[in-house]
Every structure is written in structure tokens, then in C-alpha cells.
Subunit: 191 residues, 4 copies
DNA sequence: CAGTAAACGAGACGGTACGTCCCGTCTTATG
DNA sequence: CATAAGACGGGACGTACCGTCTCGTTTACTG
């Protein structure tokens, strides 16, 4: 063995970075179905051989390429559950309007529906995306602003549910009036 | 000329029926991505040539094959907005748990995100699926059970949003306790 | 079936012809090892898919591509064994000097040595190449110009052996003096 | 400097020996086409880097690996040209039947046909193989058993030609009857 | 009920992607 | 400084589908 335990060959780093970047690019443009190893290879200048050296399958590559997306925005701390929830929801709405992953998520959901390998990807991504709601929820429960049986998932469903619905199902603009109402409704319900 | 204006060749009818049936089958099993003309041809016994003769594109075939799914269940009429909404939501939850289209919708959402031809399909399907909420909402507004500015979409978002979220995003079981709570929460706020 | 028994699709004919031509081209230039399906496809403009539709393997393609080479030149009939043999040997020497297959034969011999599929090819080619010696030999035996136990192979070995040796093993020019002497030597002994 | 002028690093000697041995092994088994640097490296335990350090190309390695094969058998001295030739031919036939290089020669011939670097290898090998015929021929000419214009190459062609032909072209067994006849024929012709 | 035009199946075709294999070169770290 | 380990780009392999296309053959309507 010519390599000490944890240092990583710079060539490997360079190759992996280039591949992941282009994979993410293709993913953003065409969803999961739009990512082909051949095309990634062509655009990144990294040979297919090398790609398969680092990732055993297309799914594995996708998983890693997605691992950076939806990284948690800073959790707001306004002092009240209402303020925190409003800030978080505005942020989520903004991302749904503009973030690249917003166009990709449906294809991940679809893939999770039938490819077990990618179901894990979906779970990770979802957890990362929703973690701030957990923080805010726990904080509010500690302050007694929420009923004892309300958990992160109730809050997420009450807020993200309508937003997602609007973004992908009724496909109407996520205007701020709607977002504001969703927050108000959620506060009324969850109180 | 061998054909009068509107009568349709029985062969055409037979071919189209067989193709649509198999398309729907494949659609249910593998989502939009799982439908390939080759496979439809193989299973239906109708040649590819003939399929492309009747539908100009894969998208067109999908649109027609989807036109039958999500057909509106009978709209309940219990006399109160609460009763109607509960019945409707239970029905929706049941379909999300078991109906074939539930596994297909994410792929349609994804397709709508990038193929304009299929965006129309998504819109149709969504309209059909949500129509009962419109009926119930209008009825409730007429009875004064709802604020004047509440429309179908607010109701849909408040109820279907959390359900969809649970079905496809947090991917937890849609147990009846959750469904009941969603209805109650919605009523609290929309009243 | 849309095609009657023996007629052949013109497209098939065109494709096969183009592929065989380019295969032969590559074969001449680089021997058996110089033929790759990818390159044949590239040069002939016929897709790899189509090539594999018509030939199950690289070996099968090579076999067919070689089937036209070494086609028997007209068998001379000078009236005497000596005259026939001289003409035949001159012709063989000329081909060894210039014919494209002369540069290819060693690679076929080599392939025959280890790939059974190609051993058949070698046998066919060899039979075709040496057939004229058989004709001439039989004719001479009928006329009593040859001992009763002399067969085609003795004649071939006595004449082609030295020629081949010179062409591929000592690698000296096949000048006409050498050819003449080979014929004379053969006649001395075989008479 | 750690090393004096002409002594050779023991590591170098060990590496080269291991590489040459394995190269010869592969050569015997699969001909020239069967030798790959990767495989040599794998089997010999010597890294590819090291191999390419010692030999500039695959051809150079092959040349050196072949330099030991076909080493001249002891030249017989029976007292007569006939006896010598018979002994030499029997020996050659025996090698063609069993020696490892017999399966390799066609691939060398083929390589010589198109790679100049390997043409030299072929020439060396051929010279080594045929040298005994030269010795015997000169001896016979000195004794007056051969016409003055007969040289080694005439003898080689007359004897090795038919043998090679039989071994690689007609691909029939090199039985001793055939070998005996070849010798007799050669003696008749060359006398 | 015969003729004809349409519908039809078979399948050839050029593409593109797949995942694997092996090549020869090049880089890095070790001894 | 020779070496082992192995990353790298290149390219061929044979397979699977894709959607387009060109055929020759039914087959159902129509005059």
C-alpha cells in the first residue's frame, strides 16, 4: 500500500468534484431521468471508466450528487413560534420558487416510489430539508407554545403540505399572500 | 373513397383499445418512465407502426391513457361542510393508500415540470381529482358555513396538502388518526 | 410474414454490402486484429445495432468477409502437367507478391491456431486457394503423368510450401528465378 | 550515487527476470496478441510502471522475451548430407509438433507483416531456427554433395517449406511418413 | 360481391446509453 | 531512486431500447 490511511489523492478529488458538479447540473436541468453517465462523462471530461471506479451505479452517483442539495438554511430564532414559523415558511417558499432542487424533487419522489436505492436518497433529502422545522417545534414546545402532542411532522405537514401542493399540484404561483395565509392557518390549527 | 364521414373502422377501435389498456397497465406499474412504445407494442400485439399512426407522440398516448384515471368519485352530501369534508378526505386518503394512480402521480408531476405537452395532462388530472372539493366548498359557502373569501383551492391545499405531504414526502402511513386530525385542523381554521 | 420466402430486403443488401466492404478494407490493412466492429460501423455508416443484427459475432463477420477472398483463378489447361503447374505456381507467386489477402493470411493462420470459430474460416480459405492444384493433379494422374500415390496435398506442399516459406519466413523477394526453380524441383521429384 | 558503473541492481535483475518469464509464459499460451502488460504485471508481481521503465514498448519486451526461444539444437554430423538433413528435419518436425514456439510463430509472422519493430524479431528468430541448415549445407557443398549454386535458403525452402505448409496451412498431422518423403524429395531435387 | 384504399405486422435502420474490460500513460507515496 | 499502488483517458465490447421508416399483406367498407 502506497497510501496512508485517510489522505486522498488529489486526482481523485478533482475527478469526483468534476463529476458531481456536472451530475448536479444535468439533474437540475432534466431531473433524475436526465442524468446519463455518458453525458456526465462527456461534459466533465472524466472518463466513464473513472466514474464507474468511484461509484458502483448510476443510483450511487445520484445519491452523492444530491447529498449537497437542500442543505439546511440557518434556523431563525425570533423568540416566538409564530415568528420562527413565518421566517421558515417564507424561506421554504422562496426556495420552492427559485431553488434548483425544486424542479428536481418530483423526479426524486417518483424514483423513491419504485427504486429502493433511491428511496434512501429521498429520505435523507427530506430529513435535511425539514430539520429546521424540528428545531423550531421543539423550542416552541419547551416554551409551552404548542400542545404537548404536536411533533415536527404535524408542523411540517401543516406548512409544507399546502406549499408543496401549490407548487406541484395546483401549480399556481406561490405568492406571499398565500404563504402568509398558510402560516396563519397553521398557527390557528396548531395552537 | 372507402369511408363515410364518422364511422370508425372496427380494426382501429380494436387496436386503440388494446394499446390504451396496455399503456395504462404499464403506467400503473412503472410510472410515466415505465411506458415505452416498444413494450406497449409487444404486450398489446399492436405493431409500433400502428401505434405511431394513431398517436403522434408518446406524450399524446400517455395523455389519452390517463384521461380515464382519477375519475371523480361520487360527491358526498351529508348536509354539513364538516361531514362532506370528512367523507371526501377519507376517500382521498383511501385512494392515496391503494389506488393505482397514487403511484403514478409523482411521475406525472415530474413530467409536467419539464414537458409542456404533459403539463396539460397534469392539469386535467388534477382538476378531475379535486373537483369534488369545489362542489363541497361552493355548497358550504352558499350555506354560510365558510368565509366569503375561501375558495376551492384554499380548501384543497388545507386538506390535500398535508395528505400528499404524508404520502410522498414524509412517506409515513396515512393512518386514520392523521386523516381525522387533518380534517379537524382544516375545519378549525376555515370555519 | 410480410416478406416472401427468398427475396431479400434491399436495405439489408445495402447494409451488408457496406459492412462487408469496410470489414475487408480493415482486414487488408490491419489483419484480423485490426478489425473492430466500432470502426467498421464508423466507416461504413451502418450502425453497430444493424451489424449485430446480421452477424452474431465478430468472428462470423470475419468469416463472411473472407469468403470472397482467394477466389480460385481460372485453372490453366496447357496440356501437360508441367505447363499447368508452372502456370499455377506463377499465378500463386504473383498473388503472394501483390494480393491483399497475402498480408492477411498470417493473421488468419494465427487465429486458426487458437479460435475454433476462425479455424473453419482458415480451412475454407485454404481449400479455395488450393483447389486448382487438385484439378491439375487429378488431370495429370489420369494421363499417367504422376505416380499413382501422389495426391493434391503432395503437390501443394511441394510447390506452395517453398513459396510460402519464402514469402513469410525467409521474407525474401519471390523473384521469378526462385519460382521457376521451385517448379522444376517439384517436377523432378513428382514425375 | 549509490551504484558503481556496471554492476546491476539486484532488484532490477529480479524484476526483469520475473517479467521475462511471465511474458514468455503468456506468449506461449496466447501468441503475441495474448501478451498484455497488465497481465504480465499481474502475474509477475512487478508493477506496470517498472515494466515500462525497463522496456520502452510492448514490442521491445516481446523481442527480448523471444530472444531465448528457438535456440539452435545441436547440429547433427552423420557424415552424409542425406543423414544430416534427415536428422535435422526430424528434429524440426518434432518441434513443430510439440514446441511451444510452434504455436507462436504465426503470430510473429503476422506481426512482422505490419510492425517494423517486430519484423526484426522475426528475422532473428528465423535465422536462429534455420542456422543448422546452413551449417549442414556448407558442409555438404564442401564435400561436393551439392550443386555449387545451392545455398542454405534453397535447402531450407525445400525442407521447411513443406513442413510449415503442413503444420499451418493444410493443418494435417506431421506424421513421420510425410516427413520421410519430404526429405527424400528434397534430396532428389537438390542433388 | 369485387375492387380498392386503409389499416396493419414485420422488421430494418441509425442512435444513444448501458456497464464491463483492457489498454498504455501518469502520479503519488513508500522504502 | 527503484518500486508498488493505482488513478486516469481512451476505446471496444455486446445488449437493450428508442422512434422512424419502408415494405408487402390483409381486411373491411363501398359502389
Amino acid at each position: 500500500m502506497a497510501r496512508s490511511g485517510d489522505s486522498i489523492d488529489v486526482r481523485v478529488q478533482r475527478s469526483k468534484a468534476a463529476v458531481l458538479a456536472q451530475t448536479y447540473e444535468l439533474l437540475s436541468a432534466g431531473g433524475i431521468g436526465g442524468v446519463s453517465i455518458d453525458e456526465v462523462s462527456r461534459r466533465s471530461g472524466v472518463s466513464k471508466t473513472t466514474i464507474y471506479r468511484h461509484w458502483p451505479s448510476r443510483a450511487a452517483l445520484l445519491v452523492e450528487a444530491c447529498s449537497t442539495i437542500g442543505s439546511a438554511p440557518p434556523v431563525p430564532d425570533t423568540g416566538s413560534f409564530g415568528g420562527d414559523l413565518a421566517a421558515l415558511t417564507e424561506e421554504l417558499a422562496e426556495q420552492l420558487r427559485s431553488a434548483r432542487w425544486a424542479a428536481v424533487l418530483p423526479s426524486i419522489v417518483d424514483a423513491a416510489e419504485r427504486e429502493p436505492e433511491l428511496a434512501g436518497l429521498h429520505a435523507d433529502l427530506h430529513a435535511r430539508l425539514m430539520a429546521p422545522f424540528g428545531v423550531v417545534t421543539e423550542r416552541a414546545r419547551a416554551r409551552g407554545e404548542l400542545a404537548a402532542d404536536r411533533r415536527q411532522d404535524d408542523v411540517s405537514a401543516a406548512v409544507a403540505g399546502p406549499l408543496f401542493y401549490r407548487r406541484w399540484y395546483s401549480r399556481e404561483p406561490l405568492d406571499s399572500a398565500f404563504v402568509r395565509r398558510v402560516v396563519e392557518d397553521a398557527l390557528v390549527r396548531l395552537r
